[in-house]
Subunit: 231 residues, 2 copies
Amino acid sequence: MAGKKVLIVYAHQEPRSFNATLKNVAVEELSQQGCTVTVSDLYAMGFEPRATKDDITGPLSNPENFNYGVETHVAFKKRALTSDIVAEQKKVQEADLVIFQFPLYWFSVPAIMKGWMDRVLCQGFAFDIPGFYDSGFLKTKLALLSLTTGGIASMYTKASDHGDFRYLLWPLQHGTLHFCGFKVLAPQISFAPEYSSEEDRKAMVASWAQRLKSLWQEEPIQCSPPWYFGQ
Amino acid sequence: MAGKKVLIVYAHQEPRSFNATLKNVAVEELSQQGCTVTVSDLYAMGFEPRATKDDITGPLSNPENFNYGVETHVAFKKRALTSDIVAEQKKVQEADLVIFQFPLYWFSVPAIMKGWMDRVLCQGFAFDIPGFYDSGFLKTKLALLSLTTGGIASMYTKASDHGDFRYLLWPLQHGTLHFCGFKVLAPQISFAPEYSSEEDRKAMVASWAQRLKSLWQEEPIQCSPPWYFGQ
């Protein structure tokens, strides 16, 4: 949709990877629609995942007993967060939609992307107490997880070893994105590209490109326990 | 229990924190029992959370299309992983019990600890295909999550905003630890120490110390969907 702004937070080390292809296809398709697309290529940026004192410029409010959540909340209000966090917050603030593109690592995002969440989505910027879930500060925005897996789809059912795929989305979609207010679009899951034929890989890319054409008409999921765990 | 070896993987920036106290109490109590206790203090170590090419020493098997999982699997077999990963794997290999001590960040571990999981628990070392869940390579070992929360206990029930606390443990306890074969002991959850009285904080520390006295007699949880999501 022309005029919309999209941020793609992207975590893969290899520009020739399947994740890179999915990211590139999203950039192309959304740009063609007239959207402004920004990519945060976390590995290429050498993004810092560790939450430390270095995230606060100037004096700490309690240097004797460092509390990351408290100090970053204060620093956000004083405009004393480090520049890489501020830059990412600006991108989020401007975006109508944030897409997270990543390979599933241990039923979650790779550490470099977890670090983006830990550091960028700080109190005061993304939420406050009160001011979370449906009142989260990013409530006018959409978010979408686009991920690849190692395992094939049949390994992620209620009766199989990995359990239903939705179980593992709870901390990310609900505990993080919804907590900050994001309306969550259905995840785009590309199962086991490594173990798929070239034809199947192409079909997965085409399916993502096709979905993006009507993405702005989609309704967000009902991000609450029934969606994840059934009734 | 005399003779047992324990690894504590610890992620807090502040030696005066409540997390540090819980870690210190575990070191004291387990040492008094005659256990050998090793602590990986991730922030103090400046532990690297990012999964990159730098984790492999010597030539890559496919430098044209870098695949982290494949390359680290090969590197593990060729003893070509970087020294910080090898050091952590040695600690895990020697341990009878691994305790993870951390504050909950976004319904999960802080990025620095996620990076420990991403990088240390590589294919060939912690699991293989086949060789996961009950056949995972760490199946003779116990694991336990000891964590603190920002929110109070009543926020983590089925009917409340955060949902049942067990929901968020699925990716960590099942998708990561159980996948590698670990028998998982019940989590130690210290709710909202920041918002608790000094007396309540002391009671939480005492409760952890007390539990550690009979930890070796505990039965692991049944790490499958019913424990997490009910029937």
